[in-house]
Symmetry: C2
Subunit: 200 residues, 2 copies
């Protein structure tokens, strides 16, 4: 037993969305068809427009519909610092913290040999070219604090060793507002080894 | 700070999906653009195709792309029984139970005067016409066991009073496999008042 072919196809294609299983897809499809056909039409257009229009920035690899994204073409940003992140949402999170005014480079993933994702796939050749050509003094590695993110950071640091740039890794430790009793051992270990003298 | 206009529009339009907030929509949009453009294209096409193609069955109001849906045009089904449900997914759940072989009528909602949903909006005039014209002997009210579902069932039962049909309501009680200790008072009350003699 199933719905009509078109509804079945809609349910099946909604499953490409992350976190959406068969039951949620069915609920979404029926909700759209019963109550929100305007929203569905808008979504359909937004999907096809962005597939055609959105590519990657020639400089930083971030998603954009122009040749060079607005962050890369912003003259006011500091050209001396380059922050390497895994995804556009990491970039957005950093931007929302209003604590960094330099340039970015978006890897669009992390090294994962088991999935066939090597240095080329995350654009490390492009990153090396960028660092050697531009007036970058510091490369900040802001990949995730996961096994793959750490491995990617160390790999990039290795590659950059011969270049005349300072390579740093973002700090790991207790989150602001966090209570020691609820923090896991790994984080506590990082917090202890990364301790700093208090400036008097 | 935001992404590019096309990505922002995609994120905003994904929010028409039920249960999807800003953060999930952002995750979905980036996942589609970074990793699954084929899936996104397929979804876009499925959406526009089904908006254009899927309408309502002329007889039972269920979603279908043909004039009369396959359940209504199935000659093997029992024309004497008509089961009234709220949504296509309720119909699907009943069909999957393989316990009903009659016809259906899908209200596509329930009476909700506060939202402007009256008898006309859920097609009760059509239901009345169907009952008076066809050879229906029993109307089974299988609306949800909620305040609105119950009210809708009683309203329909009232309308059908003058017609020569048996009007029944699906039973409420302990779910199969349910333990009394974990069942709420309302359900227990229904289970008690709906008790039946055991055939010896």
């Amino acid at each position: 037993m199933s719905f009509s072919p078109l509804v079945d196809e809609l349910i099946e294609s909604l499953r490409c969305l992350p976190g959406v299983g068969h039951k949620s897809a069915q609920r979404m499809a029926l909700q759209l068809l019963e109550r929100d056909r305007d929203g569905a039409m808008r979504l359909s257009n937004a999907l096809s427009d962005s597939i055609v229009g959105v590519g990657r920035c020639a400089k930083c690899q971030n998603l954009t519909e122009v040749e060079v994204c607005k962050l890369c073409s912003d003259e006011r940003r500091n050209n001396g610092q380059l922050c390497v992140v895994e995804t556009p949402s990491d970039l957005l999170a950093l931007e929302l913290s209003h604590t960094f005014g330099g340039r970015y480079f978006v890897l669009m993933g992390h090294l994962s040999p088991i999935d066939g994702i090597g240095p080329e796939e995350i654009g490390l050749d492009k990153l090396m070219r960028l660092v050697s050509e531009a007036s970058i003094k510091e490369v900040i590695l802001a990949t995730n604090s996961t096994i793959e993110g750490d491995a990617t950071a160390f790999y990039i640091a290795d590659l950059l060793e011969e270049q005349d740039v300072l390579v740093t890794r973002i700090a790991h430790g207790i989150p602001v507002g966090g209570q020691l009793g609820y923090v896991d051992g790994g984080t506590l270990g990082h917090a202890l080894t990364g301790r700093k003298p208090i400036d008097g």
